[in-house]
Symmetry: C2
Subunit: 345 residues, 2 copies
């Protein structure tokens, strides 16, 4: 039960292996009749390119640019770390990786970084970021040069990227709302909403998913205006304190932004029974403490490590010109104090 080779394909198609090669690698200058014959033969034989041979023969890596917010941001720091940890593994798989950093939430900085990616130097780009007019234009240019574009964490419209790897943020927000709503068990409630920035798609979608469910299914619960923190602990502390000042009717809190030590700081000095429930996003050492102390009930985590791995798998399949592996949908992990991951993240 030997696997068919390109020679078998060529033979069955009645062409030379050179022509079969021209077809399979889209080198052009092939009659459409020949193309059809080769494709039929591929079908009939179930030919699959031997990626080991291909990789060996090509003898050059698929060059990927990872464009990520700076690693001092806890959440993205995890992405950087995971990339580094798997570098040797993927180098061996024929991928070479270069990381570019920009300031989180800074659309212009992102655009500038993307613009600096020279299409002769890279075969693919994976990036995290919001969508602006300029950014989509830059992405478009890159795609026209044949680069494979992967958006991470926060999606851009389909025609500006080849793949999106991230969670469904609307679902994440809805999940948070369901848990909080359900925990009220019919009691009245009043919720504080927080986001990093409503300008980035992922935070925006979480908040609106959250509102959907509360509005529809939990009429006893009141929502208040969303605080924006830009994921900065100082702003979180200031804004949250001022919101809580003199007001004692809040029953729950949902932070759609990334794990934020400011949140834990403030909650730590409140009456532990103050809230019915509190949910935040992305695990970090401080959020972990919050969970263990019982200050925070649930942390949704999109597991950036897995997103990085998936992105690399996508590039690998692209490079090998092989079907993408079938993998289940990414969903955020839901952490309570009892299922925290072993490794310190």
């Amino acid at each position: 039960m030997e696997n068919p080779t390109i020679h078998d394909v060529a033979h069955l198609a009645g062409v030379s292996s050179a022509t079969a090669d021209r077809v399979l690698n889209r080198r052009g200058n092939v009659a459409s009749k020949s193309i059809r014959k080769v494709e039929d033969a591929v079908q009939k034989l179930g030919y699959v390119r031997n990626s080991a041979a291909a990789r060996l023969s090509k003898n050059k890596a698929f060059r990927i640019a990872f464009v990520l917010p700076r690693k001092d941001h806890g959440f993205f720091g995890r992405m950087h770390l995971h990339l580094v940890e798997n570098l040797s593994h993927f180098r061996n798989a024929g991928l070479s990786i270069k990381v570019f950093e920009f300031a989180a939430f800074d659309g212009e900085a992102l655009n500038l970084t993307l613009k600096n990616i020279r299409s002769e130097e890279f075969d693919g780009v994976a990036f995290v970021g919001q969508q602006t007019q300029e950014i989509t234009k830059t992405l478009d240019a890159l795609r026209k040069h044949g680069l494979t574009i992967v958006s991470l964490v926060s999606d851009v419209p389909e025609n500006y990227r080849d793949y999106y790897i991230g969670i469904d943020n609307r679902k994440a927000g809805r999940t948070a709302a369901r848990l909080i709503g359900r925990f009220h068990r019919g009691d009245k409630g009043k919720i504080i909403l927080i986001a990093g920035s409503m300008d980035v798609g992922d935070h925006f979608e979480r908040i609106s998913g959250f509102k959907e469910v509360i509005d529809n299914d939990f009429p006893n619960i009141e929502l208040t205006s969303t605080i924006e923190t830009f994921d900065q602990p100082n702003i979180m502390r200031r804004e949250l304190r001022s919101r809580l000042e003199g007001e004692h009717s809040f029953t729950a809190i949902y932070n759609a932004g990334a794990g934020n030590e400011g949140l834990v700081d403030v909650l730590r000095f409140l009456d532990p029974q103050h809230f019915v429930f509190s949910i935040t996003h992305e695990i970090s050492p401080i959020i972990r403490e919050g969970l263990l102390e019982g200050i925070i009930d649930v942390a949704l985590d999109q597991r950036p490590e897995i997103e990085i791995s998936r992105a690399l798998m996508v590039f690998q399949a692209t490079n090998d010109k092989v079907e993408q592996p079938v993998l289940p949908e990414l969903i955020p992990a839901i952490y309570v104090r009892d299922n925290l991951p072993q490794i310190q993240t």
Copy 2:
């Protein structure tokens, strides 16, 4: 920045490439002095075997036996399906897969199936199952013949397998308990516990993790004896009905067994306000319905598709004689009605 080859290693070590090859592939008949020299050179150069070249040269697949409970069991059916879906992808990666089925929970059948795996025909075994004296003995024999053993879903002691791929079932049980306990918000409670079989490690550990948390942190909540259903809807229906008959003080239910239509059937005919909370394991079309109807609050799901993929990655790295990729811990997904996966599972 070319990657070093085995010739570079041999040259630096001051031996021939034949000897370097003998060292790297443990062919024996090499002086320990030479071994050291080669290993030092590998270190110094950061030599990593080119797995593409190796795979091409070997020109034979790593033969894996998957030993799984029958596919008519919903949860394991998902494993079978995912294996089939990824067959071509992993054939291309140098793995060949054969699946063996046995009746779930039947230790003897499992042992018999494992015994029938001839060590000349396979290079690795992945299996799901409990541990008995006989089974560990069989596994031991297989390992002695050099097969790589991976246990799935439910672990066996470390020295009987090379890798365990599955969730931490104690944590899963603790998580369920935390949610249920927290939802009681201090009220008194009485819980029905269900398992497929307390003889299989995963179910046993879930139940004991669950008890741990309730006993420690929720003194107001009472636990009742565990019902065993062998994951069969008929038994579930009968036992659950008899437990509920005339008794109205139960406040929550935790099914540590796999998704079970019998559970939904019975709950559907109860007063919807009967329970504070209900949690089950493993998503299925029926459990999905239960979640959408509000009969079931949470389904923990260990995502067998991901476990299969991970197992295949482990075998692949083993075959390529390359470091295992660094991947985050597997944790069960927590589904509520708002974050159900797209695909019908």
